[in-house]
């Protein structure tokens, strides 16, 4: 069923905003949305991005065991030979199958994700990465086609994963542009995007900016009461935030502060009416973030949301040394937090309406780097997870690279995979499921038209 996209007035009563910033909230939340779609679905959907900062090593995340169906050139023994001291013992891998009768192994720390995969709630997207256009090894080596800017640089590749603009620096993120396209479908002016991971370009649209919540932190202004002196001070605070002074940085800082105060007021009000969730989340950074996301999804009705995007993160994946230890710790946290989050969507009855996916700077070299403890260096294409009831799980999407140094998929000589699926295609599958019209996909993923193959069909 479709409903008109005309912006609805904020359903939370103005009284609930207290004296604070109701007027500025409305003006800020009711900007005209040029990209907004003509029609909107009436159901609820959410996308949750988990960004693994540092560049997660895909080669030890999804390991081929016996894969005649998807890439007969690969085998566990070939993997183990190149990986040397970094090879994960085959007996410790969480074995998964695919529709081609192959056997792969997920990292030993990914027990929960493997179980979700086997229950068809998780799909694996292999060798996805930043691309401007499809790229062969010869084209890359001879610089005969457009190549993403500043490959192997953390900041640049994080940015490209977040902007889906593999050349040039985009000023907006693809999450933000999806929100621009879909924003009009929400029935309140509360931001479509909520980041529990601070400011990240993924969340910034041309017309929309995210709400941010720091998991575990007090929401809202402290130190005011109903005394005349306090009321006068609050009124002075508001006037300092609102009068026009013509100075750009002061205006920007004022807008951020106004947004923060308004968002906190609205969220506090909504969360106060939310029923507590029974799902227990791990007491970890990502666990706390996803717990916060679940609490906000739980009050989607109070917030007037039909479409939401969330951004969470975990750092520590830049495993130049101590990789076996550090990646294991990180992936265990990811697996346990994602499992708890999936459980919470079941509890809320929205498991089919929430899709969670991973991103990361890049993959890492297949060949280890030396040192007292082994690690790996910066590479390119890598493997990622998509989770949710709507996901066609239990299968592997994309083309698995041949794990061979200087082999057919290697960009140089250390096992640096030239991606065979672009981030744009990966994102387009997610955005299409989310409800972005085909006609709007080009505005979200400007390079999508360069890729003739259909986006991966995991949704």
């Amino acid at each position: 069923m479709l409903i008109p996209s005309r912006r609805k007035f904020l359903r939370i009563s103005c009284r609930s905003l207290g004296t604070l910033g109701a007027a500025s909230l409305m003006s800020r939340f009711s900007q005209v949305n040029a990209l907004a779609q003509d029609s909107c679905p009436a159901d609820y959907k959410a996308l949750v991005c988990i960004f693994l900062f540092g560049g997660n090593d895909g080669n030890n995340t999804v390991v081929p065991i016996s894969t005649p169906g998807s890439n007969p050139a690969n085998s566990y023994s070939k993997y183990a030979q190149v990986r040397g001291g970094l090879a994960l013992p085959v007996a410790n891998l969480n074995v998964i199958g695919n529709s081609k009768g192959d056997q792969y192994g997920l990292h030993p720390s990914l027990t929960e994700l493997a179980s979700l995969y086997n229950n068809k709630n998780v799909a694996v997207m292999v060798n996805v990465g930043t691309l401007v256009t499809p790229l062969t090894q010869a084209q890359y080596k001879n610089q005969q086609a457009a190549i993403p800017s500043n490959l192997f640089s953390h900041l640049d590749q994080q940015t490209e994963w977040q902007t889906a603009m593999a050349q040039g620096s985009g000023a907006t993120g693809w999450g933000g542009r999806v929100a621009d396209a879909i924003q009009g479908c929400n029935t309140s002016g509360f931001p479509t995007i909520v980041s529990v991971g601070g400011n990240n370009l993924f969340n910034t649209g041309a017309q929309t900016n995210p709400a941010t919540v720091t998991a575990g932190q007090v929401l809202g202004l402290q130190g005011f009461n109903t005394s005349a002196a306090s009321v006068a001070r609050l009124s002075a605070l508001q006037s300092l935030l609102t009068f026009d002074n013509g100075v750009s940085l002061v205006q920007a800082s004022n807008k951020i502060a106004s947004s923060g105060l308004n968002q906190a007021t609205v969220l506090n009000q909504a969360l106060a009416g939310g029923k507590a969730l029974n799902t227990v989340f791990p007491n970890t950074s990502l666990g706390s973030q996803l717990s916060q996301v679940a609490k906000i999804i739980n009050v989607r009705g109070q917030l007037g949301m039909r479409r939401q995007i969330f951004f969470a993160y975990l750092g520590g994946f830049d495993t130049h040394d101590l990789e076996l230890n550090d990646q294991g710790t990180g992936l265990a946290q990811v697996s346990q937090a994602m499992k708890a989050f999936h459980d919470s969507t079941m509890e809320m009855g929205v498991a089919d309406q929430v899709v969670t996916f991973t991103e990361s700077d890049f993959g890492r070299t297949l060949q280890p780097s030396g040192g007292s403890t082994l690690g790996t260096d910066h590479a390119w294409g890598s493997h990622h997870f998509v989770m949710g009831g709507a996901v066609k799980g239990g299968d592997i999407y994309g083309t698995f690279p041949t794990l061979e140094l200087s082999g057919p998929d290697d960009a140089n000589n250390r096992g640096v995979w030239i991606p065979t699926t672009s981030l744009d295609q990966y994102g387009a599958s997610l955005a299409t499921w989310f409800g972005v019209d085909a006609s709007k996909l080009g505005s979200v993923f400007p390079n999508l038209g360069n890729f003739k193959n259909p986006p991966p069909a995991f949704l």
Partner: protein
């Protein structure tokens, strides 16, 4: 002897018996209040070597952990001895005891007020920690007439002589026995008139101190107005370093190192050095997320302090060979390529030294703008092959060899002094570096390293790359290309043919006309968007408000937690990319039609912005926990005269340029608090200061 004979005879009759003995070290033992002592127990004669630790008296004289770590009480107990006993768990009848003498704490010195004293009779207040009754203030080593006020404050009086005029006299504090010790912190007073005729406007001095210091305080403001900017810089370049606690002697944890940063930032007399070192630490990043003990972190902070006013090439080498950096970016124990394990040299340090610390990703013009090829594209400074070649240069280095130990291929972790080479682990093949420089095969690790650092140091990018970032950290987010070019030119040649002279670069950054443009800011008739504008980062918000309020802090403060609430855990950026990127752009919808950089805005999320209001609330209305206190008296005294109160706040916090509408807002809040009592005056000061320093008019500097 008799016992041994007895034992021998017993054993002959009772072979199953084995004598269990316990020995405890150190013995005898002593420990200073404020530190701790780790005891060790050796149990022989049984395979069960565990002991339980007890002490006598059991309470009131400190505590001992199950692992034998003794922590003294906060103050010296009477008597100042305890008996520590280790009892064998295998043989509870067997134990050993040690008499432990508890000594007075080590005194540390944070600040002296005033910082300049007249010729003749004078008195000073000394702030610090660990003071005990009987402590003496030493003036150039001479004991002064001292009055003990509290563990963190002493007052003292003495006489200075005309011959000392202009001299800096070191001040120290000596605690009495038991365990008499003298502070090692470098704090001094200048003999001479504290103030003379002002040669600068307060607006200029206050604005300058937001760039060259952690904001103005009343005394420094007056001083800079008196001596001028050039002279103040000269003094600052000569000021002794405010130290970090020595991990080897203090037993401090990382939180006390973080606390000392704030002590130095609020009270240190070497404000500019602290500012520059903090800026350099955000370019040459190591993070306490991994380097999380004082043993690791303090030697690195000391390099940044020492090299803040040195040559950039010295800084490059000291950082490169720092074991802490070596650990953080994997240059320590970086093995040459190993064909048997099929490993290659680690690329981490090779990449980040160039990308983040020195030249960046694309070739720059002198003014910091990118050079473009014929298609209008940026030109990379290096490619993956260059990285792999530099990675080979950085092979073979390991932790410094511990005194008394023998150099090994992978020395055990040790952080004092520079890393050392283990030559046979160095890749001696030839390497092709920047601009095609080829290092011949067969060089030593040190030869390769020096040549590689020279190769990078002499790349034309370094001046604009580093110059622009120093401008962004000290002055403003959006310097014009011409400003960057002026600073880069000084980097390239300080006027005497020297490249990389950081003192000259800092002078160029701070005295540039664009840095001074905001002296008369947008609210004093200046242009609206000045290049010197930037958002205060959370650590500066805290330090500069405290300085403006004349606060005192010491090593027990927990201000780090306050900064962490705003997204900036001191010394612990999330990655080597720092807390924020120099290229971070303020989101377009916040300032439509204007594209401006705002690195600090990357931390300024809506929720962190709310947290900033709540931080100010804690500072002004609540308390900051132990180790930090503000005194609102100078402002409360103006509570009955609201315009004067607002003016005082404007002078200290807004360079005397508070916009009229802000003044009106503050007056509205002040006048809503009615009455004439002291409590009313304080409430008025609180309301006005809260509004001023939580507002964007304070948090954005011009």
């Amino acid at each position: 002897m008799g016992n041994r004979l007895l034992l021998a005879s017993l054993c002959a009759f009772w072979p199953a018996y084995a004598q269990v003995t316990v020995t405890v070290s150190p013995s005898p033992a002593s420990v200073h209040v404020g530190t701790f002592l780790q005891f060790a127990a050796k149990v022989s004669g049984t395979s069960t070597t565990g002991v339980s630790w007890t002490m006598k008296p059991a309470t009131g004289a400190g505590s001992i952990s199950t692992g034998g770590r003794y922590t003294p009480p906060a103050t010296l107990p009477t008597p100042n001895t305890v008996t520590v006993t280790a009892t064998s768990t295998a043989s509870p009848a067997t134990s050993a005891s040690v008499t432990l003498t508890i000594l007075n704490p080590y005194p540390t010195l944070a600040s002296v007020n005033p910082t300049s004293i007249p010729v003749g009779s004078f008195s000073i207040t000394v702030n610090g920690s660990g003071f005990v009754p009987g402590a003496q203030v030493l003036n150039g080593g001479t004991p002064m007439e001292t009055v003990y006020i509290s563990p963190t404050r002493l007052t003292a009086s003495g006489v200075s002589f005309p011959v000392e005029a202009g001299w800096k006299i070191p001040i120290a504090v000596k605690n009495p026995d038991p365990g008499s010790a003298t502070s090692t912190d470098v704090v001094s007073v200048v003999v001479g008139p504290s103030s003379g005729p002002h040669i600068l406007g307060a607006n200029v001095a206050a604005h300058f101190l937001d760039q060259a210091a952690f904001g103005p305080d009343v005394a420094t403001l007056d001083h800079v107005e008196t001596v001028g900017l050039e002279e103040y810089l000269k003094e600052q370049f000569a000021a002794p370093i405010s130290p970090y606690p020595d991990p080897a002697t203090t037993g401090f944890g990382i939180n006390q190192v973080q606390a000392r940063f704030f002590t130095n930032a609020v009270h240190g007399q070497d404000q500019l050095r602290q500012r520059v070192a903090f800026a350099l630490g955000q370019i040459f990043v190591v993070s306490a997320i991994e380097e999380n003990t004082p043993t690791q972190l303090v030697p690195y902070l000391e390099i940044l302090q020492k090299d803040a006013f040195a040559n950039f090439r010295t800084l490059m080498k000291d950082v490169t060979l720092s074991p802490t950096m070596g650990e953080y970016l994997d240059m320590r124990n970086n093995d040459k390529a190993d064909p048997t394990r099929d490993t290659r040299a680690n690329e981490n340090y090779a990449r980040e030294l160039m990308q983040l610390f020195t030249i960046g990703l694309s070739q720059l013009n002198l003014d910091g703008t990118p050079k473009l090829d014929s298609n209008g594209n940026a030109i990379p400074t290096y490619d993956q092959t260059t990285i792999q070649n530099f990675a080979k240069v950085y092979t073979g280095w390991t932790y410094p060899t511990k005194p008394g130990a023998v150099l090994r291929i992978h020395n055990p972790a040790y952080y004092i002094g520079p890393m050392v080479p283990f030559e046979s682990n160095h890749d001696t093949t030839s390497k092709t570096l920047l601009n095609g420089l080829v290092l011949p095969a067969g060089q030593t690790a040190a030869q390769d390293l020096e040549a590689a650092l020279d190769n990078i140091f002499n790349h034309p990018n370094v001046g604009p790359f580093i110059g622009k970032q120093l401008i962004q950290h000290l002055v403003g987010s959006n310097p014009s290309p011409a400003y960057v070019a002026r600073v880069a030119s000084v980097f390239n040649d300080n006027g005497s043919g020297v490249r990389g002279d950081l003192q000259a670069v800092i002078r160029a950054v701070l005295l540039d006309p664009e840095a001074r443009q905001g002296d008369n800011g947008p609210f004093a008739g200046g242009p609206t968007d000045v290049p010197s504008a930037h958002l205060r980062e959370p650590v500066f918000v805290i330090a500069s408000i405290l300085r403006g309020l004349g606060a005192w802090v010491n090593d027990t403060n927990n201000l780090t937690a306050q900064a962490a609430n705003l997204g900036q855990t001191l010394f612990a950026p999330p990655t080597v990319f720092n807390y924020f990127a120099p290229s971070y752009q303020i989101p377009a919808d916040l300032i439509p039609g204007t594209a401006l950089l705002g690195p600090e805005f990357q931390l300024d999320s809506p929720s962190n912005s709310v947290a900033r209001f709540n931080l100010v609330n804690s500072m002004i209305y609540g308390n900051l926990g132990q180790g930090a206190a503000i005194d609102l008296t100078p402002f409360s005294n103006l509570g009955s005269n609201p315009p004067a109160l607002v003016d005082a706040i404007s002078q200290i916090f807004m360079d005397g340029q508070m916009p009229p509408k802000v003044q009106t807002a503050l007056l509205g809040a002040i006048n809503a608090i009615t009455g004439t009592s002291a409590a009313v005056n304080k409430a008025r000061a609180q309301a006005a200061i809260y509004l001023a320093v939580s507002s964007s008019y304070y948090n954005v500097e011009h």
